[in-house]
Amino acid sequence: MASGQVSKRVKFKSSVKDPGTPGRLFLTLERLMFKPNSPNSATKLNMEFRFVKNHKYTKEGSNKAPMLNLTSSQGVSYIFEFESYDDLHVCKECVGKALSKTGETPKPIDTSEVPSEQPSTEELLLRMNMLRENSELQNLHKRFVSDGILTEAEFWATRKKLLGGNFSKKSKQRTGLKSFTNKVTFTLTPEIVREVFAEKPAVHRAYLDLVPKKMSERDFWSKYCRAEYLQHAKNANAAAAAAAEAAEDEELALFLKPDDILASETRRKIRCVDPTLNMEADEGDDYTHLPDHGIVRDGSKEITESQHELYIRTLSQELNRHAAVVLQGTPIDEEQLKDTQTVAEALKQSKQGQNASNEETDMNANQDRLSRISKMMEIDDLQASSDLPLAPLSIKDPRDYFDSQQATALKNSRDTSIGTDPVKRILSAEESYASLRDSISHIKTTGLVDPIITPEVAVKVLSVLTHNISSTNYDTGKNHGLTVLDTLPNTIKEELLYHWTSLQELLKHYWSSYPITTTYLYTKVSRLKDAMSKIDSQLQELKESVQSDLRHQVTLLLRPMQQTRPFVQALEAAMQHYDAELQKRSARSGDRSNGYT
């Protein structure tokens, strides 16, 4: 380290899955070198740090091997696997230093020369894989890219999604990481300090108590930042770590614990809430028992059942507190923002004034509360009727409607059932109840009917039920019979489908280049148009080549307005648009030339 050079035993890998080449890694502040153990191996590396754009490393404690991943400005990654985490840490520091050093020096010119459109090797590999796996895509690629109708970039531009989330994610990450070091930096200005004091009264109190008697200002804030850092790590492990650190450090615990001043203030506010509001009663009146409801933060539901709950602050708490402070809105005096000490003092004074008034209001609050309860709890029945001029709403008894409806239905049912069972009809209420009780006691003495259901009946019911289901299936599935396409011979069908996919591809590119704003787009469109008219003529040829009895079918298929495959319709629409655009263009250019000359 002292000499500025580090050398470690590593395995060099081109990808994570690669078994790797064993060798030695040499690091200086300017460059890194890799020498393989076996002299025969071709894998060697000697590059300057200014070409390294980004570095990543595996975290200690994860069950992965200790690895360092350097990404060059060309997007190629170099992975080194170390023998231990200690080695990794040494190298990590060295790389961090080297990178921050090169970061300060002006960027080398050659990085800007690399065109942004140039795909990384990773992406190229992905493309190749895609083509290998998807024969249809391969056909399209061969047909259009090799023939020069589309450029490589154009072809893939419409398939960004296919290339997979991992690639796009990686490139996003690269732009997001700006710092070259492993430090976490907190910036504190008097203004921020004032905000912190206002939102976290416990921090304010701790500051007044501790600074500068017990600790220096710098110590105080670094401790505070440490606490903030712990709190922002969102998983359960971090909470446990926070708990552990708080147990060791008294002052740190001050920042991590829930704010007791805030809590008492909240309690005071709750006392002022409308006494008739029963929040507990409404607690279950939501959708939280249903799936997919609840607050989602960072893609995962918050779990508050951790034993270190004390050290977890929720997002909503922070938001609410911030909102409360903003709404309180105390004016900021420019004078106060000189340094943190004055900020603290000024806030203390304004708070004192507030507290005095608070105590006063607390005295009155109880009185208020009592009178409010008696006012709110008025019982409607005991009140004199309020004689507001109201027009009575005349609503007919809705029962009339339903009674008359039901009467007709009942009449029908009586007509059908009266013949079969006239004796039971005339039973009175008492007799009905008695007979029902009889049947209950009948079951009680003799038990359930045995067997509950005879096999014959069970089979009958089962077949009726399944017949019902299968018949509805048949009805709904009937529409998906053979299409016209299925009646054609396989070769023609395949050819048609091939033309169809090609046409789709071309149309996609065609329409995406509108409106034509550049000459590049213009040439692209004319290129595409030529290709499409070629397909059109090919389709015509195909139509002529097939036998006469099938020709009709193919014609049907190709004819516009056919619901199965509106080949020509799509083509014609594109062509018409092209012609119209061309006319407009020539007219415009004609106008302009007229105007100028």
């Binding site: 028992h289 209420a429 049947s439 039920l465």
Partner: protein
């Protein structure tokens, strides 16, 4: 409910609330299925649900002519593990005992009240009780069985309960509780058809009532999770066409009072239900102001 908070519920644990029609006027008039037969089928079905999963829970609510009440709750059935008194399990004897008490109460209440024109059972009350019970289960904690309601009804729909039943249906829909219905009466029940349709439950009207148990186990025994993989009988269609208030004919298109939502098959000057005066149907500007006028000249 209180005995199992520590157990982990998976998605195939059911809470089935069975609404049992105990309307004496229906059962004494029913010729195809006697009440004791019906009870045999239902009791066997309840037992089989409890056997399907040991965390399954069944609540039976009797809906009588004058009142309704809980008559069985498997979670509070303390004697479930107790000895069987001779010929039947304690489940059955407990339920039958409660049912008998319920019938006596129902009859007593009936003597104090005047009889209704249509001998319907109190479906709305039973539905409300079922939904209350389910709400309580929802609030018991994050882990609870998946609830559903099964209506075993035979009595005709009570028109005076229309609003109450519809309200229950909508609140079941809101809390995503399906209402299954098995209607053993003579005609289809419009209430239950709509209930099952709106809440995505299953409506079945068995053709062979002596095979009721088979219907119940085939259609209604599967838990809600498995239901998504199973083809269950779906009604050919629920008729949602409304009847007009003036001639009681079923119409596809009609006029609706903007105040009380009464339906008419042709244009009226005044709503026959609430007395609102309508403007000219043709002129747009005058009608909007006129339709709002709801105070009649009384």
């Amino acid at each position: 409910m209180t005995s199992v908070p520590s157990k982990l519920y998976s998605d195939d644990v059911s809470l089935v609330v069975v609404l049992l029609d105990t309307n004496p006027f229906f059962w004494t008039a029913s010729s195809s299925l006697s009440f004791s037969q019906f009870l045999s089928h239902v009791l066997a079905f309840v037992n089989s649900i409890l056997l399907l999963n040991q965390l399954n829970q069944v609540v039976v609510i009797a809906s009588g002519y004058n009142t309704c009440d809980y008559i069985y709750d498997s979670s509070s059935d303390a004697s479930q593990l107790g000895s069987e008194d001779g010929r039947m399990p304690s489940l059955y004897s407990n339920l039958l005992q409660k049912l008998e008490e319920f019938m006596i109460k129902d009859e007593k209440l009936g003597k104090e009240q005047s009889q209704r024109a249509i001998k319907s059972s109190l479906l709305s009350g039973a539905l409300s009780m079922a939904l209350c019970y389910i709400q309580r289960v929802f609030r018991s904690g994050p882990l609870h069985p998946q609830p559903r309601i099964l209506c075993l009804q035979g009595s005709p729909d009570g028109p005076e309960q229309y609003v109450a039943v519809m309200n229950s249906i909508f609140s079941a829909q809101r809390s995503m509780v399906p209402i299954d219905s098995c209607y053993v009466g003579a005609h289809n029940s419009a209430f239950l058809q709509q209930a099952s349709y709106i809440t995505a439950g299953v409506y079945v009207k068995p053709q062979h009532l002596d095979g009721l148990f088979q219907y119940l186990t085939t259609v209604f025994a599967t838990d809600l999770h498995s239901r998504s993989f199973i083809q269950l009988p779906r009604p050919a269609g629920v008729d949602f066409r409304a009847s007009c208030f003036c001639h009681k004919t079923t119409i596809d298109m009609g006029y609706i009072c903007s105040v009380c939502l009464s339906i008419f098959c042709n244009h009226h000057k005044k709503c026959s239900t609430c007395g609102s005066v309508f403007g000219q149907a043709q002129s747009d500007t005058s009608s909007t102001s006129d339709l709002k006028r709801k105070a009649p000249e009384t």
